[in-house]
Symmetry: C2
Subunit: 241 residues, 2 copies
């Protein structure tokens, strides 16, 4: 079965957590909006699918279509695909725990986004720069260490060892942790240089995921969109104190 | 089996979505931190459980303990309990859809919270009042109608009719929708008076849920914490324009 991922073609954003799962699993998928328009791709294909009639509309990308089903919400997509992609534990309690971690990743991602858009998503950064400065300072002081410390603690407590967040095998939560560390390094290089000594297990997990052959090939390919200033992760030096 | 809910005793907050599910199902549950300290309750019981050693720590309340398992993240809790409480569809695709709606509720709740705390959760409202005014205005203009319109559309598109969000039976998503409408009416009475004519199905769902015998008894009981100014839903007249 071919999975069809619908997400904004020009950014990593929330869709990247799904792309990483497909890539790490070697899954058969199409990143629809990144196809050329001549092959049914582009943003138009995404918006057309979003506006389609149907009983279960997504509110926003990313969403994935497979067979008759269309599933939205990043963490929900990963909970659905995880077992089929062999990126989730076999037992139900383990799957709930993996999903719980992913939902905490989602909360963290929302807060990272709000550092540069504390007032409104539809306004430009330049129109909320003063508020962003205040928000980002509070984020770096309180929230960044809180979340990183939490995930570091989860690794430290894993009875199967600190190589993975859940059990002894790679899960989509590990892939998401790679993406978080990579994105935070892009957005806040100064703050991350300060924070990383206290989360060595997390950094080791990031490095191990980056070295997985399929992930390494993906990161070196043109399928990986580069970090940029339209994404959740943005580098504004004035916010990185 | 007795479920043990751990949540802040003085607010509705995110825990209320779980309380409503327990109450509507007539489930056997204990709202641990609302018990008197002499019976093992109070905030101390909550923080003690949060700080317990264990391989799968929650980052924040609410979380629910049942048997050996402790599950956190509101939407994850509801996805877990939904089938046992008969508040989720029987089929897997229906459950994913219900969960997707709940995750969209969670996003909405985050945005509602940010109207009064756009800079940082750990600062007082009074210390971010100017930013809150700007944030809330953008929220009421753009986000409130977007989310309400989305859920109204979901009701309109339900092939089984607009009495429920999913299929023809009550689900935890319907209970959450009741809570959203009730909370928004408390926080933003002026804005909701303007918005409600465009989402009549949603208002009808709110009213129908409030009339369910178990829910009505719960709402009239002392188990229901009153809305107040420490919750996600806060009424600041200066933000309700």
């Amino acid at each position: 079965m071919t999975y069809r991922l619908y997400y904004w073609p020009g950014i990593q954003g929330r869709g990247e957590f799904v792309r990483l799962a497909f890539e790490a699993a070697g899954a058969d998928y199409v990143d629809v909006a990144r196809l050329p328009v001549s092959r049914g791709g582009g943003v138009a294909a995404l918006t057309k699918r979003m506006q389609a009639d149907g009983p279960r509309p997504p509110l926003a990308p990313p969403f994935v279509a497979a067979g008759d089903e269309v599933v939205a919400q990043t963490a929900n997509i990963l909970a659905w695909l995880g077992p089929a992609l062999r990126l989730a534990p076999a037992d139900a309690a383990g799957r709930r725990w993996t999903h719980q971690l992913q939902l905490t990743v989602a909360d963290f991602v929302d807060e990272i986004h709000n550092t540069h858009h504390p007032i409104a998503s539809h306004l430009y950064y330049e129109d909320q720069k003063r508020e962003a400065r205040r928000h980002a300072a509070a984020f770096l002081e309180q929230r960044l260490p809180k979340y990183l410390g939490y995930f570091e603690d989860v690794l430290a407590r894993n009875p199967a060892g600190a190589s993975h967040l859940v059990g002894r095998r790679l899960s989509y939560a590990d892939l998401s942790m790679f993406q978080l560390v990579a994105g935070l390094r892009y957005a806040f290089p100064r703050a991350m240089a300060r924070a990383e000594p206290a989360c060595a297990r997390l950094v080791a997990l990031h490095d191990a995921v980056a070295r997985l052959p399929r992930v390494a090939r993906y990161l070196a390919s043109t399928r990986r969109v580069a970090f940029n200033q339209q994404c959740v992760f943005r580098h504004y030096p004035e916010l990185d104190r």
